[in-house]
């Protein structure tokens, strides 16, 4: 493979890939008189179009992606991203419209927002949704702010938020940003919330419990209704991290479990592409009592059309410049409309089937710390390989790269040491599932026969194992011109 330099290293003065039409207004001098203007942007690249096209095409070939193959990152729901969604979302009517346009000129956009809000409310069993948050973490922050605003209205915002030890790191971080002190709730031997520990910690000083269901082990919180009762009895709210909603669509609804607030990741359950790390979208759903606190503006029906409502005195305010990652929301609507009620149920069912198939196929070769039944994902550990051969989850992950598969999520959840968290999603073929199973089985054998091969993996990638410690110790975070 050709090694691709940085654009700055192939840049040369005077090269161009772009020109504008000639200026068609009389040119004026000194428009910025008295202000500091720059005569150049030092070291800014200059390249020809063909060099730029090859640069990005070559770089693209160094990426693994869902369109290439199996991508079993647990908790990330790397399902196939349907192409029709991409096509409808670049319609000029959507991409050209300005967010501050008069409402009557953007009725289609407002309808998209309303359609998605309504569909998500039905799917999650909630009363209202806001689509403003740009990703799951911003959804969490928004949801927690809504809870806090409501409690403040009742006279006391309270001090603590409870979070299970198996939770995503964004949960405690979001609660903290909302001004709360985080207390951890223990998991029991099933990997679910320890009710006794919860009851003990759930006091009148606790604003909410943030629970992920199914949790990060893929285990459904069987006692979710009891959990909700414990939280509600003390006047707290139940927040659900809906990152794993893909296991539940059309099967059961968080709103029916006693959940008061939920965020959903459109870039997980609703198939919008991850784009190498975003843009995502993290809509937040609430029960009626919390609706007045949702961010402004709200999309409302106005006559035969739609409008935006800004005058909501109890609202927490705004969390986005405008209405969220709109074009991502368009893609999610296309997905929901393609699936319909039966398709939405089917994705959950097949996601659970695929995950259990992998779990059953690998449970002899890899250690399962929790043997509780799981839904859409399963979490193995490196215990067998590490104890006997000194092979870690990192070695296993890197060896998978040699087999042409993306590694699972590693070292998370924190309650499983040396975790390998596998979420196949519903869109994988039997052939790809079996290919992964076979690779994992071979790796388990290699760990016994030739652990050194695993420790030096990957062998066939564009770069081999990278020194992450050196990167953090001596950060080089941009290119510097060696000549200056």
């Amino acid at each position: 493979m050709i090694r691709e330099p940085l654009i700055f290293e192939i840049s040369d003065k005077g090269k161009r890939a772009f020109a504008l039409p000639k200026l068609d207004v009389p040119e004026k001098k000194d428009l910025l008189a008295g202000l500091a203007v720059r005569s150049e942007i030092r070291d800014f690249p200059q390249a020809s179009e063909v060099e730029i096209v090859r640069h990005f095409t070559r770089l693209s070939q160094q990426n693994y992606c869902v369109d290439l193959g199996f991508y079993p990152l647990g908790s990330c729901t790397m399902k196939y991203n349907p192409k029709i969604n991409e096509k409808v979302a670049v319609h000029p009517g959507f991409i050209q419209s300005h967010p501050l346009a008069p409402e009557d000129l953007v009725q289609g956009n407002l309808e998209v927002l309303k359609l998605v809000e309504d569909a998500l409310s039905e799917i999650a069993g909630m009363d209202a949704f806001t689509l403003q948050p740009s990703a799951g973490a911003q959804g969490e922050l928004t949801g927690m702010m809504v809870i806090r605003a409501c409690l403040e209205d009742r006279g006391d915002p309270r001090k603590f938020v409870l979070i299970p030890d198996s939770a995503h790191g964004t949960n405690p971080s979001s609660a903290h940003l909302c001004g709360y002190t985080v207390q951890e709730v223990r998991s029991n031997e099933n990997g679910t919330v320890d009710l006794e520990d919860l009851s003990k910690r759930m006091t009148g000083d606790v604003a909410a419990l943030m629970v992920t269901n199914p949790n990060t082990l893929g285990v459904f919180e069987y006692d979710i209704k009891k959990i909700a009762d414990i939280v509600h009895a003390k006047g707290g709210f139940l927040y659900m991290d809906g990152a794993n909603m893909n296991a539940l669509t059309g099967i059961c609804r968080p709103g029916d479990m006693g959940v008061d607030v939920i965020h959903i990741n459109l870039h997980k359950t609703f198939s919008t592409p991850h784009g190498g790390g975003g843009p995502g979208s993290g809509p937040v759903g609430v029960k009626k009592v919390l609706e007045p606190y949702l961010p402004v503006p709200r999309v409302v029906r106005k006559g035969s059309g739609f409008g935006l409502e800004f005058d909501r005195p109890k609202s927490i305010g705004r969390v986005h410049s405008f209405y969220g990652n709109f074009l991502v929301i368009v893609k999610a609507l296309a997905y929901i409309q393609t699936l319909g009620p039966d398709g939405l149920k089917e994705i959950a069912e097949i996601a659970v089937l695929n995950a259990n198939y992998i779990r059953r196929s690998l449970d002899k070769d890899y250690h399962l710390k929790y043997t509780t039944p799981t839904l859409h994902e399963c979490v193995f550990s490196d215990k067998f390989q590490k104890d006997a051969h000194g092979v870690t989850n990192l070695d296993i992950a890197k060896r998978l790269i040699d087999y042409g598969v993306h590694p699972p999520t590693m070292s998370f959840p924190l309650i499983v040491h040396g975790a390998l968290m596998i979420e196949p999603t519903e869109t994988e073929s039997r052939r790809d599932l079996d290919f992964f199973i076979e690779a994992m089985t071979k790796i388990a054998q290699e760990a016994k026969d030739d652990p050194a091969v695993l420790k030096a993996a990957p062998h066939h990638s564009y770069v081999r194992r990278l020194d992450e410690t050196a990167a953090a110790r001596n950060p080089v975070l941009k290119w510097e011109n060696p000549g200056s």
Binding site: D104, S134, G277, F322, I401
Partner: protein, 448 residues
């Protein structure tokens, strides 16, 4: 259609291997009382042709593109070279996750590294992160970062900062005990420096000022930085129109501590407000408090250059509640588009674009201010936006222009009640002279 790749035979064999009779059995871990037991009440499934038709119809209900528009206010219509759409649509960029496994993500990682470098070159700062959600959130994160850096509890916010950024700052800080105080603007449209001086005290962590500001006026960033630093406060400079960095001196050159803002102008369509591209850059010494992801350069075991996500001990997945921010998924693909955009324009192209924006806006302002009863509201120098004071209520004039197929800008009264007769207009390289002249003619007719 649900994009399932299993045949009935596959499903049967898979259930056999698992050792259950049905998929329903796999849901045995759900209490029966929680099961929905009915079909979801969402519209029936659509085939691809049906879906396309219905989205064509939805998009057609957006009549905005039929109008000649001078709306800006934080969202700008710039020319986007074909390379941007074409290259950014590649599956290898659209469908991977965050590059947690660097050996199979060098493409994304090298592009973020280039993006970070470009942002530093444009802003004149030492370090840039890999992206934030949008300009409003970047402004809020900038304020939070300043507060972490010097532990003071008041922040000064220029009233000429984008109103929706100000609202977002309020939302983000409302539960953290941070006091927000606004600093007004003068007749030039820029920050009142005497008021800034008077409001700065030992309790102020920083001042956030936008340049060019919401009214398009270029602020005296050097002066703001100087005043802030004399009071040991941090200077946060927000940029909402990133193309301006092609010609205006970089905020870093003036000593700004944090530069944050919106880079939608770099290759992202207006898209009804998103997805956009929040950016943030800072001085080297503030690295540990910078929110968001960072890509760093390193070597592999064979000594070859490679890139990895780094310094993640600042981040939520390691530091949990002590993280510098809760951000996880960011706007990587938008940063990719900005990178392709900037590298395609290149040094000369970006400067040319900036110059044309400056020139065309100047021409538009001069032409429109010649209309009877119309005047330029502010005396300050502006980049590609300006405020016109009209002889009557601005919204009424805009409504009349709309009836002629023109969107003549944004009425400012909703954001600034005292600016009842004022309208904010944006002109970019994408507005031919004819369009500007057309607006002048229409305005003259409307005001007759």
């Amino acid at each position: 259609m649900s994009y399932i790749a299993l045949s009935d035979k596959d499903k049967k064999e898979m259930l056999e291997r698992i050792g259950v009779a049905s998929i329903e059995e796999l849901y045995g871990c759900l209490p029966d009382e929680l099961k929905l037991g009915r079909r979801l009440r969402v519209p029936e499934a659509k085939s691809e042709p049906e879906l396309e038709r219905s989205f064509d119809a939805l998009a057609a209900r957006n009549t905005y593109p039929r109008f000649l528009s001078f709306l800006g206010a934080g969202v700008y219509r710039h020319f986007i070279p074909a390379t941007v759409d074409y290259l950014s649509a590649r599956s290898e960029f659209v469908t991977p996750y965050t590059p947690y496994q660097p050996e199979v993500s060098q493409g994304t990682l090298q592009i973020i590294f280039e993006y970070q470098t470009l942002v530093c070159q444009l802003t004149g700062m030492d370090i840039s992160n890999a992206s934030l959600y949008d300009g409003a959130m970047a402004a809020a994160e900038g304020v939070l970062m300043a507060q972490r850096l010097n532990s003071r509890n008041k922040v000064l916010v220029a009233r000429s900062l984008h109103p929706q950024y100000r609202e977002t700052i309020k939302t983000y800080t409302r539960n953290l005990g941070l006091v927000i105080e606004e600093v007004g603007f003068g007749d030039c449209g820029g920050l009142k420096s005497a008021e800034l001086e008077a409001k700065l005290g030992p309790d102020v962590c920083g001042i956030i000022v936008q340049s060019p500001n919401f009214f398009g006026v270029v602020e005296d960033v050097a002066k703001v930085v100087d005043i802030a630093h004399r009071h040991q406060a941090l200077a946060i400079v927000a940029v909402a129109e990133a193309v301006s960095l092609g010609i205006l001196e970089s905020p870093g050159r003036f000593g700004a501590d944090i530069v944050c803002g919106e880079a939608q102008s770099f290759g992202l369509a207006p898209g009804f407000g998103g997805p956009f591209l929040g950016f943030m850059a800072c001085k080297k010494e503030h690295l540990r408090q910078l929110p968001g992801r960072l890509t760093g350069q390193t070597k592999d075991v064979d000594g070859r250059r490679g890139f990895v996500l780094t310094l993640s001990t600042r981040e939520q997945h390691i530091r949990r509640e002590k993280a510098t921010s809760n951000i996880c998924t960011n706007q990587a693909w938008c940063a990719l588009r900005a990178t392709i955009f900037l590298e395609t324009l290149g040094h000369d192209g970006l400067r040319e674009m900036a110059v044309q924006n400056l020139q065309k806006a100047a021409y538009a302002a001069e032409t429109l201010a010649k209309v009877k009863g119309v005047r330029l509201k502010f005396s300050g120098r502006f980049f590609n936006e300006f405020v016109l004071e009209l002889p009557k209520n601005a919204q009424a004039v805009l409504d009349a222009l709309k009836a002629k197929g023109l969107l003549g800008g944004l009425a400012l009264e909703r954001y600034y009640p005292e600016l009842r007769q004022d309208v904010l207009l944006n002109v970019t390289e994408a507005h031919p002279k004819d369009d500007i002249d057309k607006l002048a003619v229409a305005l003259r007719e409307v005001l007759r």
